[in-house]
Symmetry: C2
Subunit: 273 residues, 2 copies
Amino acid sequence: MILINGVPGDSIPATDRGLLYGDGLFETIAVIAGAALNFDAHLSRLNLGCQRLGISVPGDNLLRHEASQVIGACPRGVLKIIFTRGGGGRGYRPDPELTPTRILMLQTAPDYPEENRVGGIIAGICHTRVVDQPELAGIKHLNRLPHVLARNERGQAECSESLMLDIHGRVQTGSMSNLFLLRGNTLVSPPLATIGVAGTVRQAILKIAPELGWKIVLEEMVLEDLYAADEVFLSNSLIGIWPLRALAGRALNVGKGSALLLKRLIHDGVVPP
Amino acid sequence: MILINGVPGDSIPATDRGLLYGDGLFETIAVIAGAALNFDAHLSRLNLGCQRLGISVPGDNLLRHEASQVIGACPRGVLKIIFTRGGGGRGYRPDPELTPTRILMLQTAPDYPEENRVGGIIAGICHTRVVDQPELAGIKHLNRLPHVLARNERGQAECSESLMLDIHGRVQTGSMSNLFLLRGNTLVSPPLATIGVAGTVRQAILKIAPELGWKIVLEEMVLEDLYAADEVFLSNSLIGIWPLRALAGRALNVGKGSALLLKRLIHDGVVPP
């Protein structure tokens, strides 16, 4: 089911700026037993994105209401929210009077193997770089071609996820996930100050980490740091946590830290069981 | 009038990857007396973009046929072509079996003051940076948020166009145009090897320049180079050539070179009279 500006439908005007320029935002939210997991964090990031792009913020209550309509009693799925600046006019400069377009759709949950969470995944390193852009950093906007190209590279389809480097060769992110490593009791993750997407699960992890006895260090990392780590893992709202058992052909250690963290995230209702 | 995959319509599925990820390309083409100006150059860039993104190339004859349907006998307008990877599936990795979405629409020509071409424009310098991305450089893809943010900055609405710098402080492009300066008989323009859009009019200018007695130098430039130049001007397929008479409050010289070039571009049918 899809709701477009509150009305059931399946299409948007071909003149919507979301299509013309990627002028909008989205959220991908796990649905379990009729509930959207970690919904507040997703709404909060959507609101931040609207402020950053200068788009009128949708009311949280309206989105909650429409989300419950779309989700219904769905036992397991994905709620996708797309919020664009709307349609009309010509040229990059947006008319301040535009009415944003609101799309909520329920999708089938991806059938990732449970083994990804337990035994870990094989990740690749892609050539497509993720770019520094302070104005767009952190928010989940609709300009996602680098991620599409990353996953479309030869050899990446065989990997469960692809790590993306910046132009300086620092590892910044998975194509659809945030990156962490454990070094003893220290949890390290890229700061993402001017690059990437600040994940909702990443935010939860940074809150939980001290309770697990982990010290948090947000610093840039290179591939050697990953190979030298005790554990490397990825997070997002659908996968939860995937430890890496291999990266670009080199074996990595799957430890107990990522399992402990996943258990806690499931317990807190942040990611699907 | 809008043709979507050859059929008159005005909407696209909300699940099209053009909307979800900006996974596609576009062209903006001037229409005069029922003809799309410089159409071959636009088709050629669209084909290059398809190859770079790994999208099936639309047939040139098909696009020509549909363009003539959409344009009809229109005396003056804009033909916009949008070509996306199509719809379906979930996640960044594209299904190789997707059928691309083809949108052709006729828009009203923008009513730029004729004085812009003659007396020149006031341009601003925006804070939003244009980013280096070799994989996307040159092609006209749908990820245009930086350009939207650039034109939406406070103070830029009062300017006819906004110049965009890269993170190193080099001037790379106008938000919707390519940048040139004349220094004596030398025409200088940023090389755009890893950044920006390679404009169809820019391409024509680089071909014409030697015939006007200009030596071409493609090199990076900073703002001081613009202030020190004999002439600075911008190009795109709708504006033709706009000389700069002021940049961020400093006066610039409007010389005869840009007028000569515009006359030639109009004569060659590259830009509208």
